[in-house]
């Protein structure tokens, strides 16, 4: 399946469409904001825990900070921290600037896909040209 398009978020829900390159059928992933919020309000981690919770994790992540924040921002920060920890492929500043233009809520997914593409190509660094190549090949 290839990422094709996204719509939203609208009223807290996001639709992401994927396309099967063989049969041409589309599949949509729809997030249900009510279910997500209900479970999150229990102070649990969706998808299960691999590490113990941080002190006052729920309070710190639930309190609205000045100016507001994208609800996916924490996920992005976690992903970036994890990538650093794993010594993943590096990004040139120019490539990072281009990545910043991708909407925040799909950016982690796009970043992972590009890094995977770079790994498969054996590249140690993601440059602007590699980014353009990846976009063309994986359809972003």
């Amino acid at each position: 399946m290839k990422f094709q398009a996204y719509e939203g978020p609208e009223e807290g829900s996001l639709a992401i469409r994927f396309l099967c390159p063989t049969c041409g059928k589309s599949t949509a992933l729809l997030t249900n904001s009510f279910e997500t919020q209900l479970v999150t309000s229990l102070g649990v981690k969706i998808g299960g825990r691999t590490v113990p919770p941080e002190p006052m994790e729920q309070t710190r992540s639930s309190l609205e900070s000045e100016g507001g924040k994208c609800p996916f921002a924490n996920m992005l920060a976690e992903d970036q921290a994890q990538a650093k920890e794993n010594n993943a492929v590096s990004w040139t500043p120019e490539a990072e600037t281009r990545l910043e233009r991708v909407p925040g809520f799909v950016r982690p997914m796009a970043k992972k896909a590009i890094e995977k593409y770079a790994e498969q190509k054996g590249a140690q660094e993601i440059t602007e040209s590699l980014l353009a190549e990846a976009r063309e090949k994986i359809g972003m």
Binding site: S33, T36, S41, L42, G47, Q58, T59, E64
Partner: protein, 286 residues
């Protein structure tokens, strides 16, 4: 590819185990605290925070290790009353380190997490319906204030609760066996609401250590706190006279226990502390 029905249980989130782990952490943290006491009323504006702050300090002055949890998440004031409102919390491996206030009282308050003048606002994926989740998020924060704060070994943990009888139920569910100190003003309206709290405590078999009357002398034709306590069969811990000097000191972040001022309100607070200790010693003997 997995289909919806191939996903067993909750898809790997293991929510039940996570909730049980929250409860285990709460139990373990609270096991190191001898007396957990919630200062409640049901009615707002009766002086719960000022009495909690001063009671905590008078207990600490007697050599007890005391913690004070400001459970009024939307109107936190304890940090200001104890003069620690500019201190920030630190996160350590064992949990969040509370701020050390006057006489070594360990303090935590939502005020320490917010910028000055910033209201308590919760993130919600569906902002229009955020009122639906607010109760759950507030209960979650209260749970974390109890379980994720490195309180250490304490003789007393006082909880200054927000108005509303529902808050009593929340704290009783989070902290089974919590003791209540109920506060009222000597006014008919205050007592009308406080009666609901006392009735709730009775129906739910909660332990009420006693009733305190605050701001005695402020209202003409006062309703008696002692009579209210008698009607509900709970100890009357004492009456604290209305004292503008106490209000002024509280505004300046100075607990009475630290000052050398001799006043009727100071004597009353000391007397309430004595009565509380007496009730606790009687409870221990039962």
């Amino acid at each position: 590819m997995k289909k919806y029905k191939d996903i067993v249980g909750d898809g790997g989130s293991n929510i039940l185990a996570q909730v049980k782990d929250q409860q285990r952490r709460l139990r373990e943290r609270m096991a190191r605290i001898r007396h957990k006491i919630a200062v409640v009323s049901g009615k707002g504006g009766v002086g719960k925070s000022a009495v909690s702050a001063n009671l905590a300090c008078f207990l600490a002055k007697r050599g007890y290790r005391v913690g004070l949890l400001d459970a009024d998440l939307n109107g936190p004031s304890i940090a200001r009353m104890l003069g620690v409102d500019h201190q920030r919390l630190a996160i350590e491996p064992d949990g969040v380190r509370p701020v050390t206030g006057p006489l070594g009282v360990q303090v935590i308050s939502m005020g320490m997490l917010l910028d000055e003048n910033a209201p308590t606002r919760w993130k919600s994926l569906v902002q229009d319906e955020s009122f639906v989740w607010r109760g759950a998020l507030e209960a979650g924060t209260l749970r974390e204030f109890l379980s994720d704060v490195a309180w250490g070994d304490l003789d007393f943990l006082l909880l200054d609760l927000a108005p509303g009888t529902d808050r009593i139920s929340t704290v009783a569910q989070l902290l089974p066996g919590v003791n209540l100190v109920v506060l009222t003003l000597p006014s008919g309206v205050s007592q009308m609401v406080v009666k609901k709290s006392l009735a709730l405590a009775k129906e739910d078999h909660l332990s009420v250590l006693g009733l305190v009357e605050n701001m005695t002398g402020l209202f003409p034709g006062e309703a008696s706190g002692a009579e209210l306590a008698q009607a509900f069969g709970v100890p009357f811990l004492g009456a604290i006279p209305y004292d503008p000097a106490l209000a002024a000191l509280t505004d300046q972040g100075q607990p009475l226990a630290l000052s050398s001022i001799e006043s009727p309100s100071r004597r009353a607070l000391e007397s309430v502390t004595d009565a509380l200790m007496e009730v606790l010693s009687e409870t221990a003997l039962r």
